[in-house]
Symmetry: C2
Subunit: 328 residues, 2 copies
């Protein structure tokens, strides 16, 4: 069997995660890593050629699917549309508000190139989106809830680090257990931002810094913390490295709804993820959708797609017969 030739563009945490994920899929091989850095400065996790991203088109024949592992802020809005002209691509674009615009740009390029471009693949957007769609299609009269955490928010950690006197910091988003329970009990609560999540911060202060001032600045920071109940712990750099060096995340998607001629029966659909490594799990989802992208393209499909457009069977290495007999 010919293996699916995967290439990675961008070799940070997510790119490394895709590298690991491809190794777990024996119908795939990682043929190349592309970087904007000097290729010789990049140390791949195993022996795979590293090229400068400018060499992408020269390596066209060695790539069935290009997995784009850049950031959503500036990388993917340019890269995905550019590369979708030449490659089947998968990205994890996660700026929810800009998805429609991103879709339009990428669709034009992928249609022109006759390729499949799967955007916004990961867990949210991604697996969580799928669960929101399935649940709302099945339970037509109901309420949706998404909770995130417990997990590290990179954006909030960065915001704390920008405060004067802060040397390092890590921020956890934590769902409020009583709110989750209320949803599960079909109480249909209307939850404010404060009622859904709390924020816990582990901060390393610089020597002699005013800790009370730092704590106050964090807790009152608009958008990031002011609307939440926030706890701040000051710890040492050693403690931060020892206890908070991971990138865990996860969350919950729930839909509760009613059925019957007078809505007399309650139902709860709950999907949850508990992830030790946010980027490695996202990478696993990207890798499964890379398989789907190639298969769909081979069947003659083209254009930009999302997880909503991909029949589940395309994701699995198993045949349709195997899926029906083993997983159905």
């Amino acid at each position: 069997m010919e293996k699916i030739k995967i290439a990675i563009a961008g070799y940070g945490n997510l790119g490394k995660g895709v590298h690991c994920a491809v190794q777990q899929n024996n119908d795939m091989e990682l043929t190349a890593i592309f970087t904007r850095r000097e290729p010789q400065t990049v140390k791949p996790l195993s022996n795979v050629p590293v090229y400068h991203v400018d060499a992408l088109l020269e390596k066209k024949d060695e790539i069935d699917v290009l997995v784009l592992c850049g950031g959503s802020a500036t990388d993917l809005p340019k890269q995905t549309a550019e590369y979708a002209k030449y490659f089947n691509v998968v990205d994890s674009f996660d700026t929810h508000a800009k998805i429609p615009e991103h879709f339009e740009n990428v669709d034009r390029a992928a249609v022109e190139g006759g390729k499949i471009a799967l955007i916004s693949v990961g867990w949210d957007p991604g697996m969580f989106s799928l669960n929101r769609l399935y649940a709302s299609a099945v339970l037509r009269e109901g309420s949706d809830y998404t909770f995130w955490g417990k997990g590290v928010s990179q954006g909030h950690s960065d915001a704390i680090r920008r405060i004067s006197g802060v040397k390092n910091a890590k921020q956890y988003t934590i769902p409020v257990e009583s709110a989750l329970e209320s949803v599960r009990n079909c109480e249909n609560p209307e939850l404010s931002t404060r009622q859904k999540h709390t924020r816990e911060c582990f901060v390393v202060a610089e020597e002699g810094a005013d800790k009370a001032k730092i704590e106050s600045e964090i807790k009152n920071m608009p958008n990031y913390f002011a609307d939440y109940d926030t706890t701040v712990h000051f710890i040492t750099e050693e403690e931060l490295q020892r206890d908070h060096s991971g990138i865990p995340h996860g969350g919950f998607v729930l839909r509760t709804g009613k059925t019957g001629m007078s809505g007399e029966h309650n139902h709860v659909i709950e999907y949850s993820l508990k992830l030790d490594s946010n980027p490695e799990f996202t990478a696993c989802v990207l890798t499964a959708y890379a398989r789907a992208a190639l298969r769909m393209n081979k069947e003659g499909m083209r254009g930009c797609k999302t997880v909503f457009d991909v029949a589940p069977a395309y994701l699995s290495p198993f045949t349709a017969e195997e899926l029906r007999s083993k997983l159905l």
Copy 2:
């Protein structure tokens, strides 16, 4: 907008559930109910014409999708293949071991008729199957677990009722909480039948019946109870009607897996359902897939399909643009 014309074949608990579900979907209308009984003996939940099943072909123009609500033991193996020649159909065939055979038979008919036949739609097989597939495609190295309950098993309740001296009975299947916790903690337990579920029975004995003998017969019944820790409660018919007249069910699908170059990170994917009414929820799933069946057929697809073959977007009444901006 022209509404999707739904017809129901078989008007028991499941058929009534589809009736309720169609009323929650304003892009659909229920145009007819078909029954093997005398049509005038069937009292529909709202004003919908009831016909004998022999009249199905005469009403062809009034039906976009026929939802088959018979049983998996004897009804569906015949009906689905027969009707798939003339109608887009959806069934809830749930005899897991016979799905491949059912698929082949139905596929021939649906291809011949140029129709879509969606089989084994519901929650298991159905939503649970989808979650098994998605989770195993994403976490390639891991373990799968499915737990059922707490819920009423009709088959086990029937088995108790066949015991001499038993007037009525209801049986609940209950997942073992400590087993669930072990799975969630990524301990990868190997669980025996007894370790996964317990069985709780509420039994109404006939006057003067030997309760000790009934209890022993239940607990030692091969296949049904002998491999489980079973509890038997004797109650009155009034108590049974008052406290155990519902048909709740549900369960859990979990996959735990490892990622990283040396499997250093654990991940837990969990999907669960808590359903007040098993047939009404199954009916909601059938109804969403009825929408998909018609859309797929209109796009020129034909043949037998399962939930694995249906792109999620087909299930939702929302447009692709709405889905991308609201649910992704």
